[in-house]
Symmetry: C2
Subunit: 594 residues, 2 copies
């Protein structure tokens, strides 16, 4: 039977606990959000002893289910002040699951300030080791040292100096198969929560672990077969498809064409240098410098989509993984930077220092708006990250706390954020549905929380007019479905195929049901999704959030965005309808478990 | 008939308007909060063009009513995100009123960034003048230059460099009769709002103005006679009484004795150096250095309480006015500083740079907690203000944005603030009622919003046990009555005598009724107070505030405070009762005017 691992950082003790009945069918985000809902006081200080960091693999993680290596990280966010789940690929999910651990709960806070520890978890149990030698080190060196100490192949979850300094833009890093630091649960400042617990890293060695029990192997096998079939068939997810060939950055040209590619702190929807940083250009350069195998790369074992890549320096040596769409946008177009090598430098720095690339790109652009540096000035941006943020100078602490914080420090009012979290790479004035998700999601401005870009721009999962403002039902449905997928361990990119191929979604649900030994329908899965977002919403309400926080920043409702010259004009009532529980579809809404 | 003066900073136009019927009986805070409620979108950015800065003298300001020179400043606060009224003494209130102006409404925002203007108001009207020569200048020099330009004796309302830089701790300064910068509407960052409007200063020359119309002179005369009688009789307010002899700083020994004098970032309720900075010591030093007349000084013409003072350097030259209890505490005990000359240096710097002394004291103490400087290190504190905050360096911008901002920059969780605003000089763990006011006031942590210290510590207005937790009714009653007094133009210190002497309160109300030509009872006055705080609360709710924001910081409910070793244990339900409209006393609650 899987266990919960509870780590108390106040008395430095670890304890394995039985999984309470109510958590038996949960995993990933469903589990992290439920534990937060049950155990974290909504009004606690996010960096105080009462907040908790919850780490949970998904329902099928650790099995042979394809593309199922996501680890969910949860806590009360120091960036938003609300509930937060952020998930990442890399090695950790499968290994935690195979050790028979359903979630790791890190609570309390060391009495000694600025002491750091490593949590080692293996078949023999768990223990806290001193980590004084890792203090202040970047994530690349941290990963190197931990593989030397604990053996090649172990999974590493860690924070860079930004997390140690409890900066609200700090993320949590997971290493990948090459032990590269670059898979990030970046959003919401959970790295600062980990830092506030005095935890520099978690090392997971699953050798000799019991593995994941599959209660109904037949159902499970049927499920993964259907899901695999869908994934290998769909144009977006198949081998040689868009994601596999160009990575997520394939979206640059598409979003730029749609006029929804935020440029220079969200002052235009089109970037004149887009072709220099597109997925196509990126793949071409990687192939030229580094060889063919360096795109279409998996971020964790068993991924069949393989959208990652390994960027190379001009001399062909490895630089950084991964040149993700969001990261290239944030540190590229949004800062007016059109040079992939400079962007790669900035991504490397974010990965090493341990800050979210999206938040940092938004932040640098706000700093540009404030006049601290010019749009397009990559060299100063690099200096700011490497000298200021890394070392926690006063300016570094401003930037390291994100774009809202930076805007306030410098009196900038054009700050693209919701609930304190910077916006990702889709312009809500050009794609209204994603604006509804940004505004209303329990997570703050977050594209992954309800990716309506699929029907609005990509023609996946139906078609929706990006400029139409009636998007409450669409965004809500995406938010609920996403909450389910985030609970499975499956990569959200599986959504692309399951949105269009019903058997794919059936397969996804059956594979989960097979592991758990239940008879879930797809409707049951969606009901679970609604349960999760409802719980998250209730937590946020108790933490002080109201409809007033479900709004985009002032300037987006007033300042027309080129090239379409549209404002964000979704009516407040439409936004309010997303979390008006009375308007939720009766057939899929269950009661929130106690 | 009095007018509204509307100043549009976008097109740099000014316009006099008739006073709408609904504002006819309002003044001061009642008027600023009503105009905000009616005209400011609750979700606007506090530093954007949709916020407004409202300036209003009280109902009796500009008449011969004693001690009635308070000017109310209002807007959406950049510090709290909610509605804000902050009032100050000095010259402005009477002069605005005597020019026949009921309120000045400053709206819009200059299109050109970092251009500043002076608004000149006199009997011939109002106009905007360029203020490029004043940019970056401290308030002392600004006052000097403006008297040279516009004549001695004119009233000046202005901001220092902090307001120009839109720092959230920036206050609005009013000069006094000696043209000293030191009367501050300090709280809530309204100086940043003024800065965001491109307004460096307002000059008011009332010579030749029409004066204030008194509709029922007989009633007015009767009223001020009764109020004067009460003021001259009560031990706190009379000539030679506590306030007149020692100034507000008379409270040091009292609060220290009560164990409620917050020390070293609210880590103790008693300061071992209190006697060095007490009101008694202060008065003794002033008399020795500067002569007898330099305590018991009025802050505006016609004040009969005269609680101000003029601190001198060791050589007898004038240093700063005023050594207020809150300022001496904030930059003294709360920072572990026990030297009045150093404290005077810090107060002078706050006045010159244009930041709130309370917020800045809280901020420096949080910086001390973060390890940036040691508790008690006055010289570094002086350097931080003079070199960092004044010049808007990155560290200066952190500090200039207040204690919550500074806490977040440096990962400090012990931050004494409510709704973003730092706490004043009364420990809520030792005096529970004031904690209820801090928690629930529409203004954030603010002692003046509902000064339950009077019955809890001073035995004024009855007696209440400071440790008793049932304080909702007490705090609510004080909050409503205060909202009325803040609307009259009378100094809140008049409350001391009117709390104990019923005829005094009758007189206060009658003097207002006399000016307005109405027949108000004291109950009508209190009803008006309830109307005001209800409107403010509704604005805050629309701006996103909930009960969750009516709480003291986490650490105060857990960390026992020496010497009584008590935590803040007022139950949440008791806090929630303050603004539960259904629990408001039926007899004094009216409808909110549309």
């Amino acid at each position: 039977m899987a266990k919960l691992l509870r780590v108390n950082m106040t008395d430095l003790s670890v304890r394995f606990e039985e999984v309470p009945e109510k958590y038996a069918l949960l995993g990933g985000r469903g589990l992290t959000s439920s534990i937060i809902y049950d155990e974290v006081p909504p009004l606690c200080h996010p960096l105080g002893p009462d907040n908790k960091l919850i780490i949970a693999p998904g329902i099928v993680s650790g099995t042979k289910a394809p593309t199922s290596g996501r680890t969910s990280f949860g806590g009360k966010s120091p960036l938003t002040g609300g509930i937060k789940e952020s998930n990442a690929g890399g090695l950790s999910s499968q290994k935690i699951a195979r050790l028979g651990i359903k979630a790791i709960i890190v609570e309390g806070q060391p009495r000694e300030k600025d002491r750091f520890y490593v949590l080692k978890v293996d078949k023999d149990g768990a223990r806290l080791l001193p980590a004084d030698h890792l203090k202040g080190k970047g994530m690349y060196e941290t990963c190197d040292l931990l593989w030397k100490e604990h053996g090649e192949g172990v999974a590493i979850i860690g924070i860079g100096p930004a997390g140690e300094m409890r900066m609200a833009a700090a993320g949590i890093c997971v290493n990948d198969m090459e032990n590269t630091a670059g898979r990030y649960a970046g959003r919401g400042g959970l790295g600062a929560v980990m830092g506030s617990k005095g935890l520099k890293a978690i090392v997971i060695d699953d050798r000799g672990g019991p593995g994941v029990e599959i209660k109904n192997p037949e159902l499970f096998e049927r499920g993964i077969k259907k899901l695999t079939q869908a994934s290998l068939t769909h144009d977006v997810t198949k081998k040689g498809g868009a994601l596999n060939t160009y990575g997520t950055n394939v979206l640059v040209n598409i979003m730029n064409e749609a006029g929804g590619y935020p440029t220079r702190n969200f002052s235009s929807g089109r970037f004149e240098l887009a072709s220099q940083i597109s997925g196509e250009t990126k793949a071409e350069i990687i192939h030229k410098r580094n060889g063919e195998g360096m795109t279409g790369h998996p971020c964790h074992p068993g991924c069949i989509i393989q959208c990652s890549d390994r960027w190379a320096n001009p001399d062909g040596t490895f630089k950084v993984s991964v040149m993700e769409y969001e990261s290239v946008w944030a540190l590229g177009a949004n800062c007016g930077i059109g040079d992939l090598d400079k962007i790669a430098d900035l991504i490397w720095l974010c990965n090493d220092i341990g800050v979210d690339t999206i938040e940092m790109g938004d932040t640098l652009a706000v700093a540009m708006e404030a006049g601290l540096l010019a749009f397009g000035d990559a060299d100063t941006a690099i200096r700011l990250l490497n000298e200021e943020v890394r070392h926690g100078t006063p300016l570094g602490r401003i930037l390291g706390n994100g774009c809202v914080f930076t805007g306030r420090a410098f009196g900038v009012t054009r700050v693209p954020a919701v609930k304190g979290q910077g916006m990702p790479a889709y312009e809500p004035r050009a794609v209204k549905g994603i604006g509804v998700t940004y505004a209303t999601s329990t997570m703050g401005a977050d594209h992954t929380a309800g990716y309506t870009i699929a029907p609005e721009i990509l023609g996946v999962g139906g078609k929706a007019d990006p400029f139409a403002v009636q998007k409450a039902d669409l965004s809500r449905a995406f938010q609920a479905t996403t909450a389910f997928i985030d609970s499975t361990g499956y990569c959200l990119f599986d959504a692309f195929c399951v949105l269009d191929i019903p058997e794919g979604f059936e397969g996804m649900v059956e594979s989960c049901a097979g592991v758990l030994g239940v008879n879930w329908t797809t409707q049951d899965a969606i009901r679970l999704g609604y349960e999760i977002i409802r719980k998250e919403r209730l937590f946020n309400e108790a933490a002080g959030f109201t409809k007033a926080h479900d709004r985009l920043p002032d300037f987006m409702t007033k300042e027309p965005l080129p090239p379409h010259n549209t404002v964000f004009d979704v009516p407040p009532e439409e936004l309010d309808a997303v979390y008006d529980f009375s308007k939720w579809p009766k057939e899929v809404v269950g009661e929130v478990a106690a």
